[in-house]
């Protein structure tokens, strides 16, 4: 085994010998489990939860391996390793998901342990990317660089990664458990749509202590719920005790009779938030104390891994281009680049949403090229966003023209971040055994229809999200325009919702009219957008116009247009 590990200045958690041994032991354990399955010692039913907790799903055509990208942070050697796994064990590409993970869709069971070994060699794993356990923790893709960030969520995200890894008590929960964490007042991690959402902050009561605001019971799927406030402030030292309390109540009382009702959101709903929190508080009072206390020194030690990269005093100014390049560059700068807290440094989002492409797909060659770009322009670090794009978090503004030209060559510079073409879509019926309908061809058709960057820029911020079934992996509930595949007498049809959003004003979209056939969807979306363009106030975003005018208004206008 040749161990590479993260190099360079990337602000990424570096494994110590303990972490490395742990992941290696996990690979060895899985290799043994896979061998026992192949030898017939384990039934598929018994193997299933074991492989799931290593991210291995059985899909329509093959096994799918879901690799954890903890809180969406990657170093360039890690991205190169993913590229290599894609070449060796998949068909030369990978697929970034809405949970900041990466999926390989064509894995053979006989080779799965080798793929996990290749991950372990670069300090990565697929632990708990599925199964009824605490899943990979997600966060803001701009964590640590965002200008509006109050506290760095990555420190706590890493603590949660460790604490939740092979937890002896909470690995067989009623259902999966997703935690998202942000440190910014502008939530880019959709914390209110997770089983537990955390916002890192200083004690609002003024003690000066660091801690978190805790939200609980949010989620999408068949029964969408916006999370409820658990506690306005849990001090850092008690954070793990409080999470243990929540999980213990969930493990003991969550429903196990019906998979559709097994998520914590249903328990919170059925008990009522008051009774649920009473039980949590009871546990918390007992758990609080030295055994579960998160030591200051441990936090400080982990915080060191996320120290700021060695920035120059100033990253310079965005170059001014002329001629043919001027408009395209300006459009890309406006849509795909944000300023960060470091003077003259920007974060560049790489669009994995080319017009007519598959959202989140990336070839191994593109991964290698992006790793090179990260080495050259972004301290060897790459982020994955929950909108299925990548980010170079520390780019000198002065180098933006070079970066743009390089990305354009790689077809990763579509100027559509946050715009109509930046569609989130689940794998849908093309891959997934749960889906009712296809998602990818629909995303392709819509992005083609709105391919014109000028038109997208004019429409402005608009989040289109597509799920192939009610499990809502494509987050349709919180799409400004949400599209849900439904099975209507064996035909794939789509229901369209409006007004959903995933920020701190999280809301679930409302149905805008009867379900329509796949071919009609792009036209209906076009009509919805026309209504918006006609009736918006100056500067008013789509989602705000829907809130002001009401979904009913859109519904009636759509009917009148028919």
């Amino acid at each position: 085994m040749t161990h590479v590990g993260p190099v360079g200045h990337a602000a990424i958690y570096r494994y110590d010998d303990f972490d490395r041994r742990f992941v290696q032991e996990r690979v060895n354990q899985f290799r043994d489990q896979a061998d026992r399955r192949l030898a017939g010692e384990l039934t598929e039913d018994e193997f299933k939860p074991l492989r799931l907790m290593n991210g291995l799903y059985l899909q329509l055509h093959a096994y799918m391996l879901r690799v954890a990208i903890p809180y969406g942070v990657l170093s360039s050697p890690q991205l190169r390793a993913l590229a290599e796994i894609g070449r060796k064990y998949d068909k030369g590409y990978g697929h970034f998901t809405t949970r900041q993970n990466l999926q390989f869709n064509w894995i053979k069971l006989e080779e799965a342990a080798d793929a996990l070994q290749a991950l372990a060699d670069v300090d990565m794993h697929a632990i708990q990317t599925s199964g009824n356990c605490v899943r990979n923790v997600t966060t803001d893709q701009f964590a640590g660089v965002a200008a509006d960030e109050a506290e760095d969520p990555r420190v706590y995200a890493e603590i949660l990664r460790q604490w939740s890894s092979l937890h002896p008590e909470f690995s067989y929960l009623p259902r999966k458990f997703k935690i998202a964490i942000t440190g910014s007042p502008n939530d880019r991690a959709a914390i209110k749509l997770h089983d537990v959402g955390l916002r890192v902050l200083r004690d609002p009561a003024g003690s000066g202590k660091l801690g978190a605001e805790v939200w609980v019971g949010g989620g999408q799927g068949r029964a969408p719920f916006v999370a409820k406030l658990g506690r306005a402030f849990v001090p850092e030292e008690d954070l793990l005790a409080y999470l243990e309390a929540i999980l213990r109540v969930y493990n003991a009382y969550g429903r196990r009779d019906n998979m559709q009702k097994a998520r914590i959101k249903i328990l919170v709903h059925e008990l009522g938030i008051t009774e649920f929190l009473r039980r949590v508080d009871e546990e918390f009072e007992r758990l609080k104390g030295p055994r579960y206390r998160l030591d200051e020194a441990v936090v400080a030690d982990i915080r060191r891994h996320f120290a700021p990269v060695p920035y120059d005093a100033d990253g310079g100014a965005t170059p001014v281009l002329s001629g043919d390049e001027a408009t395209a560059f300006a459009r890309w700068r406006a849509a795909n680049v944000v300023d960060t807290r470091a003077p003259g440094y920007v974060a560049v989002t790489l669009s994995l949403k080319p017009a007519g492409g598959i959202p989140g797909d990336m070839t191994s060659d593109q991964m290698d090229a992006v790793a090179d770009l990260a080495d050259k322009h972004s301290f060897s670090e790459i982020r994955v966003t929950h909108a299925q794009n990548l980010v170079l978090p520390y780019v000198r503004a002065a180098e933006l023209a070079d970066v743009w030209r390089a990305l354009d060559k790689l077809k990763l510079a579509e100027p559509n971040i946050g715009l109509t073409g930046d569609i989130i879509a689940c794998p849908g019926l093309d891959y997934c055994s749960l889906a009712n309908a296809r998602s990818i061809p629909l995303a392709q058709a819509i992005s083609e229809k709105f391919a014109d960057p000028a038109r997208q820029a004019d429409i402005g911020e608009l989040h289109v999200k597509i799920s192939g079934c009610i499990n809502a992996c494509g987050h349709h509930h919180v799409g400004h325009i949400g599209i849900l595949g439904v099975d209507k007498k064996g035909a794939e049809t789509y229901q369209i919702t409006l007004g959903g959003r995933a920020d701190l004003d999280a809301a679930i979209g409302e149905i805008a009219g009867p379900a329509v056939d796949a071919e009609q969807v792009p036209a209906v979306i076009e009509k919805i957008i026309e209504i918006y363009l006609r009736e918006r106030s100056p500067g008013e975003r789509f989602v705000d116009a829907v809130a002001r005018l009401g979904v009913k208004h859109f519904k009636e206008s759509l009917r009148a247009a028919d």
Binding site: E25, P168, Y172
Partner: protein
């Protein structure tokens, strides 16, 4: 069915007794929680080892006041996916300070053995014909953990612990 403790087959000195059957005059008897509560008075006079089986949907606190004189608690795993027993076992040892033996019965997999032990389970009833080596190996799969375990871990830091068998 075979019984294992610390990865080795051990003899089972206990018998399960149905609610309507008489208790044996000698030796360990495992009775239901309901019977433990209903016959508390009579049981006090019986000077033989007593075990109680706790139903899957019952939390450890239901047994807390009835642990006096109990040497064995049997925790039921109706299906390996049903993880409530992990919390029951941990509560018994950590919260209620139960010093006796916790035994897991029902459907559990070798791959869960390490978790069971770390939650305070001492004995596991394994299926007839199961390879005990597989269970023993499962116990030794990991030399470290990121969480506290019942009883025997050695903290390197609050998040990193060596499991005792490692050293």
């Amino acid at each position: 069915m075979p019984l294992i403790e610390q990865g080795e087959i051990v003899a089972d000195a206990w018998v399960e007794v149905a609610d309507d059957a008489a208790l044996p005059a000698e030796g360990g008897a495992i009775i239901s929680l309901a019977r433990r509560i209903a016959e508390a008075e009579t049981l006090r006079g019986r000077n033989q080892p007593l075990g109680v089986r706790i139903p899957p949907a019952t939390r450890a606190e239901a047994l807390a006041e009835h642990l006096d004189g109990v040497q064995l608690v049997v925790v039921d795993f109706p299906k390996f996916r049903d993880g409530r027993g992990f919390t029951v076992a941990r509560d018994l040892k950590e919260r209620f300070g139960f010093k006796g033996v916790v035994r897991a019965v029902g459907h559990v997999l070798p791959d869960q053995y390490g978790f069971l032990v770390r939650c305070g389970v001492d004995q596991v009833v394994i299926p007839e014909g199961a390879k005990v080596e597989t269970w023993r190996a499962a116990l030794d799969s990991f030399t470290g953990a990121y969480q506290t375990s019942v009883g025997d871990d050695r903290p390197l830091s609050p998040l990193k612990r060596l499991l005792n068998k490692a050293g």
